[in-house]
Symmetry: C2
Subunit: 344 residues, 2 copies
Amino acid sequence: MKKLLFIVLFCLLCAPILNAQDLLVKAKERFKPIPANPPTLENNRITKEKIELGKMLYFDPRLSKSALISCNTCHNVSLAGSDLQPTGTGHAWQQGTRNDITTFNAVFNTSQFWDGRAKTLAEQAKGPLFNPVEMANNEERVLKTLNSIPEYVNMFKKSFPGDKNPVNIDNLAKAIEAFEATLITPDSKFDRFLKGDSNALNAVEKAGLQAFMDNGCDACHKGINIGGETLEKFGVVEMPSSEIMNNDFGRYNVTKNDDDKYVFKTPTLRNVALTAPYFHSGKVYSLADAVKIMAKVQVGVELSPKDTDSIVAFLKTLTGVQPEITLPILPPSTDETPQPDLSK
Amino acid sequence: MKKLLFIVLFCLLCAPILNAQDLLVKAKERFKPIPANPPTLENNRITKEKIELGKMLYFDPRLSKSALISCNTCHNVSLAGSDLQPTGTGHAWQQGTRNDITTFNAVFNTSQFWDGRAKTLAEQAKGPLFNPVEMANNEERVLKTLNSIPEYVNMFKKSFPGDKNPVNIDNLAKAIEAFEATLITPDSKFDRFLKGDSNALNAVEKAGLQAFMDNGCDACHKGINIGGETLEKFGVVEMPSSEIMNNDFGRYNVTKNDDDKYVFKTPTLRNVALTAPYFHSGKVYSLADAVKIMAKVQVGVELSPKDTDSIVAFLKTLTGVQPEITLPILPPSTDETPQPDLSK
């Protein structure tokens, strides 16, 4: 009898520890921590020179027709690599159709843009540059700008030492990609948990992680970026409101394949607490609301307030150490540099 | 005879040295180097906390109605504290009427704005915030925004420890002023010359300084900022072109005093090689053109190409060490934070 009581007591005491261990084992199967250093890039060796050039380009508004909009305008390093707008605001105050995705940890996504139409960050970088509702520039004008500034010509030469004509759009995109690859946010509470520190998450956060997995959120939100790997239908169980859908067919617009209707890239949940508003349309500002909507439309679950709160608490543990960026000092224009053009 | 030859030779050899000494003595009478540290401010003790808060506010687009425009949009630290536009572009892509003045070294100006209507940087900071063609915000909304973000409330408390209600517009302006006071650019070539290093300027630059003073440019462009001290009529000898004047009566618009027609603050020439385009209207992109126009309309001199070039060479020695600014990580909005409003 005494022996039995002892065993029961032992089990009761150890259950939370065993559960935590079990949770960690399961989590490790689904998620990976952010590495301390940027990964290697395909066809783009990361060098100090390239990162420095890419940083200058990322912050240089002269890449836009107006000389007013830089990559950082919409992918603001002070705001977790995104902005605060529902959808991007670009040249001549035009509104884009989709929410600006964070550049932070984007290097770990298997594709870029909400519809996954770019494979790499280098490919992505060319999009906004030439989009008439974003930076509204053209190739000739960008090259004229870069070639008019001796410091840039010099830095392209140093960054691409093998190239005969280093100042070109592909190299510009590669330099930006190299810089963006450094915009990673390691060492979140969740990363510390994944690396074995079971105290890195508190009880509510652990309950949130458990609820996140129990409800199957990790079917798509998985891997290093807890998302960013797959393209999925938005509205598996029921369609989200028309306000949230915003008349957007998603990947269908790229492929014209009916199966791709309402298909979007699963966004990363890294730093999600810093990147409101949410969804491709940026219509939802509250993270709790976004969680409830996702549970309802993707897995058909009406989340309890308790589960919603714990999942939100868990999502907040995905906020990593933000990159410390010293602003580049941009080289001055010359008499040959194209002047700002604000016209539509 | 031998003795006389020796004296003549001695004089010929020493003349440049004596001239250089003479130039330095004269220059020291007219100009002062940028100090290594920010000056003290009237009614605003600079503290570490205030600078940090001011830096966050300077970079936070939530101070604007659109949540898209920050102080740094027009006073870009990567672009010598200014932008590349003829006149500022603000809320809803509206065009301002005057060129955006650099915030760098602005703390040494005796007044702020082109018409000198603000005495201090704190007073200046409130201007763009509430100007409908700039950040287009209002006091109530700014305070609602700041009060909705606990990190800001906390930082205002720490920065203004004596205040009962530290979150207010005056304190916001004081914090921005404290940060801006750190945006100084010491140790230019000219500063090193002023401090006694006569080799800091080469022969052409010295000739430029000489021509600058010989032509009386230093009557207004003097002191620490080589400008920024006085309000002067633009067009003393003859009126600049109507394109350059841009229908702007300058200080007259503030005082309605006929004597103030076409009166503007003498702009600083510090970092002038980095802050094109020039004049209150921002109509001139070439520094050489700006120099020629100034000589013509202010002192009635048609500068020779040689003098123009040497003065430009001298002006380039006014480029100081640019401040190294690490971007702040801005605290996230909450459900109470006013959402971006892009409407006009």
